[in-house]
Amino acid sequence: MPRLRRNPPGVDPKLLIKDAAKLMPDPTRRLFLRGGASLGALVFLTGCDIVDSLSAERALIKVSHFNDRVQAWLFNPNKLAPTYPDSAVTRPFPFNAYYPEDEAPEVDKADYALEVGGKVDDKKTWTLDELYALPQETQVTRHICVEGWSAIGKWTGVRLSEFLRRVGADTRAQYVWFRCAEGYSTSIDMATALHPQTQMTFQFDGQILPRKYGFPMKVRMPTKLGFKNPKHVMEIAVTDKYLGGYWEDQGYNWFSGV
């Protein structure tokens, strides 16, 4: 891992950080702390220009992993998210993604076949009609975004724990991983996967889940931040391997429980 030494006089530390980013051994590795701006304030605060982005980032990622463990310890599998009356539902419910609304993935109902993989007994795929036939329930809960805003929504679907039971998942495995139509992915801890409010969602506010909210299926978990609630889910895998996720790999805290 390249490290910056003390800057020679007259050298712009911001340019050096950019150079350091270029020196990273793995070209696919992203710098979580983007650009010089990330350190500008710290340099200003400490008057210290020898702190480099990479070592700061590595230390912060270590703390983030520690925070994953703290959150897993804090997580109470029996604690339910507060529920609200229908009248509290935020209408219109905000659309939020890393793509504009008109670029939301279009999944064809007829072609849809949910793939199930990893440590499960039955790896057969599931059509939408088969999924719709499973016992469904409705929750009105608060969706909390990593950005800070929140909104109350009404989601209807099948408990993920019920689905995992039906496919004979090894619930001693550590993770459940989700792959989405457009390449998004995320993974969660088994305890959250088995939480009674973690739901394979097929309806929003009494309507078939619209495209913008994740047709044909999203996974709703009120105990985690919004980005951990994947939309357009095409594959579910039970695994002991840490697979991270789209945002997690860019520096967002993996557990992200609320």
């Binding site: 979580f32 304030a41 912060l60 703390v63 608060r142 909390i144």
Partner: protein, 211 residues
Amino acid sequence: MTIEASHDRAIAAPAPAGGVIHPAWVRLTHWINAVAVAVMIASGWEIYNASPLFPFRFPQSITLGGWLAGALLWHFAAMWLLVVNGLVYLALGLATGRFRRKLVPVRPREILADAKAAFTGKLSYDDLSVYNAVQKLLYLGVILAGVVVVLSGIAIWKPIQLQELTALLGGYEAARYVHFLAMAAIAGFTVIHVVMAFVVPKSLRAIITGR
């Protein structure tokens, strides 16, 4: 030394000339806190910018983290420093009797009199070991704001797992405002605090060297 130490512990007694105004634990926790608060506020402003509560954003040049994920990494790392250091400070402040000796009583009439004296340039800063009433009020206020900012931060961080705390603060959305306002109180205090350090330079020396 024995006489000085016991004298220092006497209620409301000014430290003798040449004595220690701020013991080592006060200085250490003060500067750790300064770093922690600076990181928390600068990264907090970047987090605020992702979903502002008011019709303004903080200029990115004064925020920390570069973008939301970076700011969150800083915020959720420095929180440990802030909380652990803050608990050590509160525990020692109570256990050593420093809070009782230095911060109370704080009487409204004295606050008014000292505030008036301060604004007319008549307030004496000769003895740094004794806090004037305005100082006492501000120090107690910022300690309170520190407690509120941490509790509201925890309420926003864990609104399901610790939902009783979140409910106590009026729910998730209300807790965001509480968190912001407590930050604003601490930032406001910091401005006055830093200005006063320049107005009374020997106070800056005292928090570094103790004397």
